[in-house]
Symmetry: C2
Subunit: 326 residues, 2 copies
């Protein structure tokens, strides 16, 4: 079976990580890359070509017109995702798009509708849900090992104080979709909706602006029948990144939950019952394998990362960011 | 200086722990105890007398009338706190009252007003705030060691599934003030208000009822200017009980935060800078020492546990429990 030939849109840090993961991924190859700056794309192509030629483009449309590209991985700044995804869909290229999928629900609805209309495979790069440690946690839950899920708690926070120097950093810049919600709020939120396999019945949030006006901290409470989840995202303070899923019979813990390599199952007396460890250090490999499976199966939507979930998150982001803007 | 002579109202588990802590506390003695059942009070007196006679009463009024009791420690079921506190105040006995101080804000306001009117010392038994590890955390914050506080996260949750057998348990019984908010929600809430030394500017909550109608899970978000705190309380699921206080320059962690014996100070690169360990295993000893200091100083209110804070929590509990009752 022939390789899936990837074109990467955007040549920053996350693109580099993805390119390295492609090397570890069977049945794939890096065919091309594009950046707004051709020199940057050429340097990226050289760095990640593994000795083979990788075509470099100085704009995204040329990447789309490359007949030797099967799928486009979008790794540009958030605010350009929708436009680039539409370009890809219109030429029939499969789309794997980094989080936040789109910066608002209008964009999300429009692009999802277009992908469905054109029957083009599209997936949010929500790699957490493809990780074997996450799949194992879901398997334990399905098997009833923690009883009924009652509580989930997950926080993704880091401290990047807004100083004179850091004010121009992407994360503090409202112009390029900076702030906690879009960048990292998506991780605890979609971690939870993936575990409970539904959007919350009710959604409560508190948002605290930082000095540049972006959402520095967002606390979210997701209400389900019989279960409640507490999600926290902040760029203004540290928190432990171990997520816990608690149920009537026990609980599951995952360290660094958004890129979990392990899952631990405990009973209600805090006794460790089972432990799972992923031997693959680069979690993007699982995401790529899942996306490749999707393409090879002829399906257009992942059952693990449904487009509806990305749209649901975009709707929640609208609420949170709308509240901030007044 | 003469001993402070304590009378204990209520002879259950928490009363026994307090009596044992009194033995470890200089300048105090157990003079009397009372329960609704005289046999129970007599057994308690015998068990905790340390060979000396402790008077036992079969009702609380007799305890109040004992001229050899200086202070009353109220350790009865929540719903009786207000009545017993009033009895004590009216005869001029100092009051140390277990949490929840009172089960609603009307009671809280009434009893606090009475104590102030009669100039009787009264304190909520919120021992967390008297712990040296908590005082150390506050000292580090005051010294600017974590910069400006931006985020606090604290959860007190345990799993007591509501089975046929456990439905009659106090914690699931709405008649005696069962549920998460009053029993354990007070811990993360007042931990935070003590750290930030003010009630929140805005208070957000989500409450999930359990099978008996009590509040099984309560998620609270406390909004301050520039800071946000996430508090979780549940009797329907486990969570880690390490609290974290994060700021612009670093963070503080406290394991089992509600009875913390340690505090750890980290910088923003997760480097441990300082560590504090309390050698006293029984935290109630610190609470008793603080209360005794209060009485000896002739003051009527603790600066560490102001009555206004207990009233503030009672007001929040009104909101949460009112929402549940519709």
């Amino acid at each position: 079976m022939e390789n899936i030939r990837f074109g990467i849109a955007g040549c920053g840090g996350i693109a580099a990580r993805f390119a390295k993961a492609l090397v570890l991924s069977a049945g794939t190859e890096l065919a091309a890359c594009a950046a707004r700056n051709l020199d940057r794309a050429q340097a990226f192509a050289q760095a990640h070509g593994q000795g083979k030629p990788v075509r470099a483009y100085g704009n995204y449309q040329e990447l789309m017109e490359d007949p030797n590209v099967d799928a486009v991985y979008i790794a540009t700044v958030h605010t350009t995702h929708a436009q680039i995804a539409k370009q890809a869909i219109l030429v029939g290229k499969a789309v794997l798009c980094e989080k936040p999928f789109f910066t608002n629900s209008r964009e999300a609805r429009e692009v999802i509708a277009l992908a469905r209309e054109k029957s083009v495979p599209m997936m949010e790069a929500f790699w957490t849900r493809t990780l074997p440690a996450y799949r194992k946690a879901k398997e334990w839950i399905r098997e009833g090992k923690i009883g009924d899920v009652t509580l989930i708690r997950a926080a993704f926070c880091f401290c990047n104080p807004c100083t004179e120097q850091s004010r121009s950093h992407r994360i503090w810049n409202p112009e390029v979709g900076g702030g906690a919600m879009l960048d990292i709020g998506v991780y605890p939120y979609e971690y939870v909706t993936g575990i409970l396999e539904a959007p919350p019945e009710k959604f409560h949030y508190t948002v605290l602006p930082g000095p540049t006006g972006v959402d520095a901290t967002v606390a979210m409470t997701l209400e389900y029948p019989g279960a409640l989840a507490e999600c926290l995202a902040s760029i203004a303070g540290h928190m432990d990144t171990t997520a816990r899923i608690s149920g009537t019979k026990g609980y599951i813990e995952q360290s660094v939950f958004y890129g979990a390599r392990e899952a631990r199952l405990f009973d209600n007396q805090n006794r460790l019952l089972e432990e799972f460890q992923d031997s693959q250090e680069e979690g993007f490999v699982h995401e790529i394998a899942h996306f490749v499976d999707l393409l090879r199966s002829g399906k257009t939507e992942s059952r693990w990362i449904p487009l509806a979930d990305a749209l649901d998150f975009a709707e929640k982001a609208d609420l949170v960011l709308g509240a901030l803007r007044g």
